[in-house]
């Protein structure tokens, strides 16, 4: 029998017992639908993270801290011995211990191969911000590290090349500060208060130039973003009157490296830093942790879909075993007329694969329609705060792989019945009542 006839016959046979085929297809449909939705979630969220990384930029920047204690166990919650130079960040199992860095440390970082430039990160400890003598709100203010950018919903990002004081607000500050909407805030004046080393409070006025978009992992998170001039001013004010030994100490520094470096070379660079007692992380590292979590969740969800598919696989075995039993005489007749065992095997395998194809194609298409509708609805409501996030997204490769994998599962499920059909003895089959 020619392959085309084999396929044609196999496909036709699929529809011979319509109810049975429909039920089996339905079982596969459920598995395929679930698998498509769950991997669609993974695709959607990871694509959003990738887009965010691309928007943030800073691919050639490392955030460097000094590791305080090599034996530091982040899961140990018992009290730590006091170290005047150590800062413990985070709480519980998330805490890490770092040591303040001095100019010597910065020089040491600068001496590591492939590091082009080092800048200390000086946080401004802001007391409050207010607009037009209105309510005072606590806030964190930070500057963008080189290479970083932020998305704005109104106005522009603070400009570093100017001596004017500029600042941008996260959207949560717009209404509390007394603005009608995002555009209303642009151009207004924000008063920022800091306390110096002698416990005297100073205020600085800055122009609001933008409202930042709330993103999953934007630079600074929910903090206000100052331009370099404002940041320098705030730091200078708060450092006034500080004892010398507390000046020029930094918890973090940013190190710029050659953007041409390959990921392996970046890893080598991090190892070089680690040898000197520093820890360096890129933006990608920070978000990589996110991606890993998402991937793990999606993997677990996919495992559930896999179980559904496994059950559907047994459905195929059952359906085809019944078909083989029912068509014993037909198989015997075909073998008596010279059809080879291999072709008989092929005939039933094609039936299995076709059932798999039907179930997966219908399941995948339905999942794409439902998934697109659901993420459309969510984007307008629940996820309106995360613009640009398509919760369930589909990429052709994943979709294609899903269908192929399900067809492969169907083929595997079909091997047992198909082999049973192929082994049938024509005489036994013809005598079969």
């Amino acid at each position: 029998m020619k392959t085309i006839d084999l396929v044609r016959t196999g496909v036709r046979n699929t529809f011979r017992s319509r109810a049975r085929t429909t039920l089996t297809v339905l079982a596969i449909f459920v598995g395929a639908f679930t698998l498509t939705i769950t991997s669609g979630l993974g695709t959607g969220i990871n694509r959003y993270i990738d887009d965010t990384v691309a928007a943030i930029g800073g691919g050639d920047v490392l955030t460097v801290t000094k590791v305080a204690d090599e034996d530091f166990d982040p899961t140990d919650t018992s009290p730590q011995e006091y170290d005047p130079n150590a800062v413990t960040t985070g709480d519980g199992i998330a805490r890490t211990s770092i040591e303040m860095m001095t100019q010597d440390d910065l020089d040491a970082i600068g001496d590591v191969d492939d590091i082009l430039d080092v800048e200390p990160i000086t946080p401004a400890q802001v007391d409050y911000v207010s607009h037009d003598d209105g309510t005072r709100y606590t806030a964190t203010v930070s500057a963008l590290t080189p290479g970083q950018t932020v998305q704005t919903t109104a106005g522009a990002e603070p400009e570093n090349g100017t001596t004017q004081f500029q600042i941008s607000l996260p959207p949560t500050y717009v209404e509390p500060l007394g603005f009608d909407d995002d555009t209303d805030a642009i151009g207004a004046t924000l008063t920022i208060a800091v306390t110096d080393g002698a416990f005297e409070q100073h205020t600085v006025d800055a122009e609001i130039v933008g409202v930042t978009e709330e993103t999953l992992a934007g630079p600074g998170g929910a903090s206000l973003i100052a331009n370099q001039a404002l940041q320098d001013e705030l730091v200078t004010l708060q450092s006034t009157g500080l004892p010398d030994d507390q000046l020029d100490q930094w918890a973090q520094a940013t190190a710029t490296f050659d953007p041409e470096l390959t990921p392996d070379e970046v890893d080598a660079l991090k190892e070089g830093l680690a040898d000197e007692g520093f820890s360096g992380t890129t933006t990608a590292d920070t978000l990589g942790a996110f991606t890993t979590v998402i991937d793990t969740i999606v993997l677990i969800l996919n495992a559930f879909a896999g179980i559904a598919l496994l059950a559907a696989g047994f459905g195929i075995v059952n359906t085809l075993l019944m078909s083989v039993q029912e068509r014993t005489r037909e198989i015997g007749l075909m073998k008596a007329m010279g059809m080879s065992s291999g072709r008989v095997f092929g005939l039933f395998s094609i039936e299995a694969v076709f059932i798999g194809f039907l179930g997966s194609a219908i399941g995948v298409i339905t999942a794409m329609i439902v998934g697109t509708a659901v993420s459309g609805l969510l984007a307008g409501a629940l996820l309106a705060n995360l613009p640009g996030l398509t919760l369930i997204a589909f990429d052709p490769i994943t979709i294609g792989v899903t269908i192929l994998v399900i067809m492969a599962v169907a083929f595997l499920a079909g091997t047992l019945p198909a082999a049973r059909a192929a082994r049938k003895d024509p005489v036994d089959a013809l005598r079969y009542e």
């Binding site: 029998m1 020619k2 006839d5 016959t9 036709r12 011979r16 005489r329 037909e330 007749l333 075909m334 073998k335 008596a336 007329m337 010279g338 059809m339 080879s340 065992s341 072709r343 003895d425 024509p426 005489v427 013809l430 005598r431």
Partner: protein, 238 residues
């Protein structure tokens, strides 16, 4: 090698069996269906295998048609030992050399008459257009051309058996094996089907091997072999 048996041969032996035994089961359930049968089937003859029900007629026919392997003894197809045939050669022989007519028809109910008749050609891998033409020719020969598009289940018993004969001869076989071809038909329809088979034998030289317990049908054959308890009881030539 085989020495020719009778001198009165119509032609060379297509199939020869020597001392063929067939045993089903083992131990207490053991049953000897064939107990040493030797027989030649000659090109162009018509041979009737007769005997009581359960005597081993169908078993012998299956062995002759290379559908079943004997427990002991040899089967020769064109002087070649069937045991030495590769499975592709065996399949080719079943497809091209033999045609089958069964008492229970064995038509696929979901397919059309034409598709049923085409089956041996489809299995042989003949292109669609050619096999349709050849199957239509076979149906015309049996005056069933107008039924080509019907479902096989929509036909009467006699029509079904004519479809089965059309399927048996569609690939121009050298032998047609018929196991009780008239067993499910009334006498008149049975006669028509017999006439068709003997016409094929006479006009196209197709060898006939007919299993039957109908003495009238057996009497129309060139040669008849009576089987009893798995042995040839007597052989008679017309």
């Amino acid at each position: 090698m085989l020495d020719p048996l009778g001198a009165d041969t119509q032609g060379a032996a297509i199939i020869s069996v020597r001392d063929v035994e067939k045993t089903y089961g083992s131990g207490a359930g053991r049953f000897d269906a064939l107990r040493g049968v030797s027989l030649d089937i000659r090109e162009g003859e018509s041979l009737a295998i007769v005997g009581k029900s359960g005597s081993g007629k169908s078993t012998l026919m299956h062995v002759l048609a290379l559908l079943d392997e004997p427990t002991a003894g040899t089967v020769l197809l064109d002087r070649r030992n069937a045991k030495e045939l590769r499975s592709s050669e065996l399949n080719r022989a079943r497809n091209k050399t033999f045609g089958f007519v069964f008492q229970q028809f064995f038509l696929t109910p979901t397919q059309t008459v034409l598709e049923n008749v085409m089956l041996p050609l489809t299995i042989a891998g003949m292109p669609n257009r050619a096999r349709r033409a050849q199957a239509m020719a076979a149906l015309e020969q049996l005056e069933l051309a107008d039924k080509a598009k019907n479902k096989a289940t929509d036909l009467s018993g006699g029509q079904k058996q004519r479809v089965v004969i059309a399927r048996a001869l569609v690939n121009h076989p050298r032998i047609i094996f018929a196991d009780e071809p008239t067993g499910n038909l009334d006498t008149a329809t049975g006669r028509t089907v017999e006439d068709i088979l003997f016409t094929l034998n006479r006009e196209q030289g197709i060898t006939l091997v007919i299993v039957t317990h109908d003495d009238d049908l057996a009497a129309r054959c060139d040669r008849r072999i009576q089987i009893q308890d798995g042995r040839i009881l007597e052989e008679a030539t017309r």
